[in-house]
């Protein structure tokens, strides 16, 4: 699964630790998700979507297809 976490985080000028604090997870978790080494559970994916105020499909995408960027 691919994701736009790094881009979205950079747009908001958040560090990995900032995002981790908002998601109530460890910074290592954010790093693993961002690098695509760990796919979050559905509840965590929804929480990520809530934190970025975006629909899930604008953050995560299946396989190699890029996630839909917000218009």
């Amino acid at each position: 699964m691919r994701n736009r976490l790094k881009v979205l985080r950079a747009e908001r000028d958040w560090s990995q630790a900032d995002l981790a604090e908002r998601l109530e997870v460890s910074r290592q978790s954010v790093n693993a998700i961002e690098t695509g080494k760990y796919d979050p559970s559905l509840p965590l994916a929804f929480k990520i979507a809530r934190v970025f105020a975006l629909p899930i499909e604008q953050i995560f995408s299946e396989g190699d297809a890029p996630a839909q960027a917000a218009e």
Partner: protein, 136 residues
């Protein structure tokens, strides 16, 4: 300043350290008690059995402390711990199994089963380190 780990995880870490220290102290105390009583008082067999089983209590306390800690981790950290546990299960059981054959067939020196828990703890720590490194 942002934290490396959430506050709840930090509290869980502190509880974990406290629980493990308490269990460790209890373990040392119970082993010392057992050794002293068995060596100096020639107790009956039933008391020796009770004394020999007592160190399992702090081991159970360690297990409870670890489970409490595990439940406080986030889902990614739980994945790391679960993978480390599986690797530990495989490595320690395979090592014990193989060494059993070496003892029986090749005359290797006997190693008491008491070393199983230290082997699990050390292997678990090393496994968690390598699993975590793989996700970096």
């Amino acid at each position: 300043m942002s934290c490396e780990v959430p506050e709840s995880a930090k509290q869980a870490g502190r509880r974990y350290t406290r629980g493990m220290l308490l269990a460790g102290a209890l373990y040392v105390g119970l082993v010392a008690l057992g050794v002293t009583v068995i060596r100096q008082m020639s107790p009956p067999q039933w008391l020796i059995i009770v004394l020999a089983l007592l160190p399992a209590l702090p081991a159970l306390l360690m297990l409870r402390t670890y489970l409490t800690f595990y439940r406080a981790l986030d889902e990614f950290q739980r994945r790391v711990q679960a993978e480390a546990a599986l690797i530990t299960l495989a490595v320690v059981t395979l090592a014990a199994f193989s060494y059993g054959f070496l003892e029986e067939w090749a005359g290797f020196p006997h190693v008491p089963l008491i070393w199983i828990i230290p082997a699990v703890v050390i292997t678990w720590g090393a496994s968690a380190f390598f699993v975590r490194a793989r996700y970096k």
